[in-house]
């Protein structure tokens, strides 16, 4: 289409229109002149010229009319076509733009809907997270790089008696004092690990938390120090109210103590009178009856030992394991022990051998307790070996440690049982297991570790086992100065202790 402006377009039309109208008029005028002129004798050549001119003029006029009408016709046609196109939705250049605008509008609407959906999801996620945080029973709070509280869940508020608004942005140290044995645990730990590149995790149990109203809670605390401080966080701390648990543990501990005492009372009478019968009745009782008495006595003795073990376990769990440390001549100690064991194991029909390294240094140990450890290991060996089985004891130094090993050539311990060996209720499944509370190894481990030592086992099914423990020897010098006993010589055993006044 001619894109010249509509002004010139219309000018053209006007000129053409005028010409189209004037020329026919002129021709008609010429023709009238001719018809009137023939009668007045004008030259016939002039007539022919005038006729030709008039004819040409008429043809031109016709052509002009055609041109004019075509000029008019084209835009009219387009308008008509556009109208039709609009009516039937066929793409048309003018409407292409509109439909593109329409599509663009659709896309904007879609994007807006998506953004809204994302925003809703974020809101739901955040809401979910908040719900989770607020329904946890553990108190959780987070600190930023300046040790200010930036997160404080509902449980934390309930447990401490502080409101989230009161603590927001506050420095945690004095607002939330967490103490273990009177020492503040948190700021020191954070400073200690502040430069660490790894995520640090700290656990504390038996922590005292003073609530806003002044009363105290007993809690377990776990803290995580984040090395790269994402989202401005430095540390996450969670704490759990263990007050009821601790009370329950106390009740349990007290119960065991009372139960032990109650059990021991009739046991005293049983053991005591059996003993009297055995001593005083030798003349009157047949060997068979004496043997019966001995069986009863042994049973009662085992019962007494069991009560003692239960009490020990309870104390170990309550961190009340009482070690009576003293300076011992290791060679004398182990040689005496070996002699006792030789007799016992002969009775139990096991072959026994002992190797004690000569020239051992003095040991700073609880002799009764270490004896109990060795006894427990030997008992364990007896339970895992058949009649005639071999058990051996070896005592030697290895660097700055004393190694005590009990070997047997018995049935060994299956690999899947090894992990549970030193736990509270491990029981030997072997055919030879006669009796035992399953507490012996647990107690042995506690005693060895209380001495700063380490207990282990190596076993192969069908071949035998090797149980051992090591005791550190470094403390000897320091121990020697501690052992100056102002109380006098004290003889200790599983039955208690008694002072020796015969030596001055």
């Amino acid at each position: 289409m001619n894109t010249t402006d509509s002004g010139s377009f219309y000018r053209h039309l006007m000129v053409l229109g005028l010409l189209a109208m004037l020329l026919p008029a002129l021709c008609v005028a010429v023709l009238w002149f001719l018809t009137t002129s023939t009668s007045s004798g004008v030259d016939p050549a002039l007539n022919q010229l005038a006729t030709a001119a008039a004819a040409i003029g008429l043809i031109l006029a016709l052509l002009l009319s055609l041109g004019l009408s075509y000029r008019l016709y084209r835009p009219l046609r387009r308008l008509w076509q556009a109208q039709v196109a609009g009516a039937s939705n066929r793409p048309h250049s003018q409407f292409k733009l509109l439909s593109q605008l329409d599509r663009a509008a659709d896309q904007i609407e879609l994007t807006l809907a998506k953004s809204q959906a994302v925003a809703e999801h974020l809101s739901t996620d955040r809401h979910q997270l908040q719900t989770v945080l607020d329904n946890l029973t553990d108190g959780i709070f987070a600190l930023d790089r300046n040790s200010r509280i930036v997160l404080f869940n509902r449980a934390a508020a309930e447990l401490t008696g502080l409101t989230p608004t009161a603590v927001a942005g506050q420095v945690a140290d004095h607002l939330l004092p967490l103490r273990q044995d009177d020492d503040l645990i948190l700021p020191p730990w954070l400073y200690q690990h502040a430069d660490s590149l790894n995520r640090q995790i700290g656990h504390w149990s038996n922590v005292d938390l003073i609530q806003a109203n002044g009363s105290g809670l007993n809690v377990d605390v776990e803290a995580i120090l984040l090395p790269e401080y994402p989202a401005g966080l430095q540390a996450l701390i969670s704490f759990r109210d263990m007050t009821k648990n601790r009370q329950l543990q106390e009740t349990k501990f007290d119960f065991v103590a009372i139960a032990a005492h109650e059990l021991r009372t009739p046991l005293t009478t049983i053991r005591g009178y059996l003993d009297l019968l055995q001593t005083e009745g030798k003349a009157e009782l047949s060997p068979e009856h004496q043997a019966f008495l001995q069986r009863s006595a042994t049973g009662a003795e085992q019962l007494a030992e069991m009560v003692g073990k239960l009490l020990n376990v309870s104390r170990i769990e309550h961190n009340e394991l009482n070690l009576n440390l003293g300076l011992e001549d290791a060679n004398a100690f182990f040689n005496d022990l070996a002699t006792t064991l030789a007799t016992r194991l002969a009775k139990a029909n096991r072959s026994f051998s002992a190797v004690v390294q000569p020239g051992l240094p003095k040991l700073f140990i609880d002799a009764t307790a270490i004896q109990e450890v060795v006894m427990n290991l030997i008992n364990n060996a007896v339970q895992h070996t058949p009649d005639g089985g071999q058990i051996s004891l070896s005592v030697q130094t290895s660097g700055m440690r004393l190694h005590v090993t009990v070997n047997d050539n018995g049935t060994g311990i299956p690999k899947d049982k090894v992990a549970k060996l030193f736990t509270k209720f491990y029981r030997a499944d072997g055919l030879h297991a006669q009796h035992g509370t399953g507490l012996g190894l647990f107690i042995a481990k506690a005693i060895v570790e209380a001495h700063g030592g380490y207990i282990w086992v190596e076993s192969e099914e069908g071949k035998g086992s090797s149980f051992g423990f090591e005791l550190p020897l470094e403390h000897q010098v320091a121990a020697a100065t501690l052992a100056s006993d102002t109380k006098g010589v004290i003889h200790r055993g599983s039955h208690g202790w008694i002072k020796d006044r015969s030596i001055h």
């Binding site: 009372t265 009478t269 009297l276 104390r315 009340e320 039955h495 008694i498 006044r501």
Partner: protein, 123 residues
Amino acid sequence: MAGSKTVLFIEDDRIISEMYGRVLGKAGYTVDYAYTGTTGLSQAQSKPYDLILLDIMMPEMTGIEILKRLRADPQFAHTKIVILTNLAQDKSTQEELESQADGYLIKADVVPSQLVGLLQKLL
């Protein structure tokens, strides 16, 4: 027996008193019995004893209480006092007892025939 050692046995369970008292008597000791804390304290004052055996769980007054009172009295500063009980003690009480008493024996772990041997270290 002239010059035999004297023992005061403060224990409320008569069966147990008799049980241990019997072997002590056979070993040559002279044994007096008191079945309450109060009687025990007054008995202790009545004559000098070489050894006082003391139970803890007693009505009216515990053995620990009696021990404290005895040791507070200079008259008994050198009397041998051994606690004979079935009660286990916590660390702190044990340490205190080690300085105040001369022995601490668990009855259920000490049969009569063992008692004399143990006490001989003291007497």
